[in-house]
Amino acid sequence: MRKKQRKKLDGVQIISTVLVVAFSLIVFIPFWNAVVISLETSAAAAKYPFSWIPMEFTLENYAVLMAKGGALMEAYKGTIIITIFGVLIGMTISVMGAYGFSRQFPGKKLFFRLMLFTMFFNGGLVPIYLQYKNMGLLNTYTACIIIDLVSVYNVIIMKNGFENVPMELQEAAMIDGAQDMLIFFKIMLPLQKPLIATFSLFAIVGYWNSWYWPMMLMSGGNKSVLQLFLRSIVNSAGSEKTASGIASVLISGDGMKMAAIFMVMLPVMIVYPFLQKYFTKGIMVGAIKM
């Protein structure tokens, strides 16, 4: 980062490098271990708790998982529906709101405070559950979409992003007679693309990973999402020692768990490289203003 060339490494730099590499390995190994276990027989997994490559390669764990076909596909369907609609609707109203709050209008402070307050205070589990129940939203995808629709924190950072656009740009457009909406679409939106991309990706990952509210709002129904499916697999496999359990679970406890994990994780791994490209930029825009 600093332009000057260093002649030689000093102790701090060597220790830093060693420590960071060590930490990275500590993060990487359990993760890799899970992938390896999912690809080997349960006998091999029991014999070699850790290996860099699958010792007795098999896709059986994935086959068993797929044999549950219906449940996994139903869970994928649920997660995909929630993610797509949640991100599209959520980002649209967040960006609009962020832009609105970046400009001046009577009552802005009141509305902003109302929004800010919900960042730190909400109705809590029972009241929220009861409201969704009263609105007839239990066991619907709609409930899971609505509950995580907006992140106020992200809206505030995007609002700061809009505020950081030089006033001259807006004033020039105003002088040219451009209206608020035109300024929004022609100037503000294109300038905020990286930030919007960042938060869209965050929203995708957020919906993909959501399990708490789906668990609360969709329990007892026939709808599911991936994380809940994973939880059910983990829990059923975990109880194999006490209860007799389902035969397929008994045969390949850990292997199938890890296969399920991999299936749930895969899409995140695919979008992650794109995410990485954007998030630092996005976070920095927020951080500067903060």
């Binding site: 980062m1 701090v12 490098t17 960071v20 899970a34 709101g97 832009y99 109705g123 995410l275 903060m290």
Partner: protein, 309 residues
């Protein structure tokens, strides 16, 4: 903020001029009012002897009985103490790690290696606790990698996941495992914003690298640390439901009981008392809010800059 003062125009003229801006905030405010403020009506339950048959409005008032109960029921009291204990533990053992990782990443050499390491360290942040808990439980189980390693060193295997003594340290370690790369990012950004001439000047003056980290880097990112600290303190009553809910098991029930898991457990108990659950939740939220306001004031004194405008 203050310069948008009255410019002589009547209020309705200014409102009319801003009509598109109101349109912009309409959807988000509608969502906030219906789905954030809407449920707050249900908070009335905390002050009622709630009966599902009667509904919220017609259930009899209970005054503050539900809140008094929080301090009377031993398990609830323990949950409060445990919540605070875990949160303070996080402030000590988790909060500084992001700063440390940021400094290490900034100081390390090898651009390519740095990028790979940062990618690896950040990745687990994007996984849910359902996934991470499952991976780490497998890794730390009695038949897992860590225990076979201990076995290889001639040590007895340790039931990390089923021991109350290990539960809290395990929470800090696993949270660091998941979040250290992510929490470092904000500090890395702050460090990148420090004027490089400061480092050059210090180097010319013969300051060692450690002194430069201490006097320039850490001082330069102090406002960021302060803001992150407020957010962490404001979160003290949330001791990390997602993590604990996915890490806990029957053997560590008591060590794992925080306010949020307690609310969950009593809400989904065989005989739920919604009035009491709501009261516990409300108590938690109010304390949370107060802590945040206090912390916000404190940072204002420290940095002269408030996070909550």
């Amino acid at each position: 903020m203050k310069k948008d003062s009255k410019n002589g125009k009547a209020l309705f003229v200014r409102v009319w001029q801003a009509k598109y801006l109101y349109l912009c905030i309409l959807p988000i405010m509608a969502w906030i009012l219906i789905f954030q403020y809407g449920p707050m009506y249900g908070l009335l339950m905390a002050f009622k002897d709630y009966k599902a048959k009667l509904g919220i409005l017609r259930s009899p008032w209970a005054g503050l009985e539900n809140f008094k109960l929080i301090f009377k029921v031993p398990i609830a009291r323990e949950a409060i103490i445990n919540t605070l204990r875990i949160s303070v533990g996080r402030l000590i053992f988790v909060f500084p790690i992001g700063i440390v990782i940021a400094i290490l990443l900034t100081e390390m050499r090898g651009a390519k290696l740095k990028k790979i390491c940062q990618t690896v360290l950040t990745f687990p942040h994007f996984l849910s606790w359902v996934v991470v808990a499952c991976i780490l439980k497998n890794f730390l189980s009695t038949e897992g990698v860590v225990n076979s390693l201990l076995g290889g060193l001639g040590m007895d295997s340790v039931n990390f996941l089923g021991s109350e003594n290990f539960f809290r340290p395990l929470l800090y370690i696993t949270e660091n495992w998941k979040e250290m790369g992510w929490s470092a990012i904000i500090y890395i950004a702050a460090i990148a914003g420090i004027d490089p001439t400061l480092y050059e000047a210090a180097e010319i003056d013969g300051a060692s690298r450690l002194r430069r980290i201490w006097h320039i880097t850490l001082v330069g990112i102090r406002p960021t640390i302060a803001i992150m600290f407020i957010l962490a303190v404001g979160n003290v009553m949330n001791a990390g439901f997602d993590q604990i809910f996915n890490m806990r098991n029957g053997l560590v029930e008591d060590a794992a009981r925080i306010l949020d898991t307690y609310v969950y457990d009593i809400t989904f108990a065989r005989v739920p008392d919604y009035g009491f659950s709501t009261a516990v939740g409300l108590f938690k939220s109010v304390v949370n809010l107060l802590l945040l306001l206090i912390a916000n004031k404190m940072t204002f004194f420290i940095t002269g800059d408030k996070m909550l405008s």
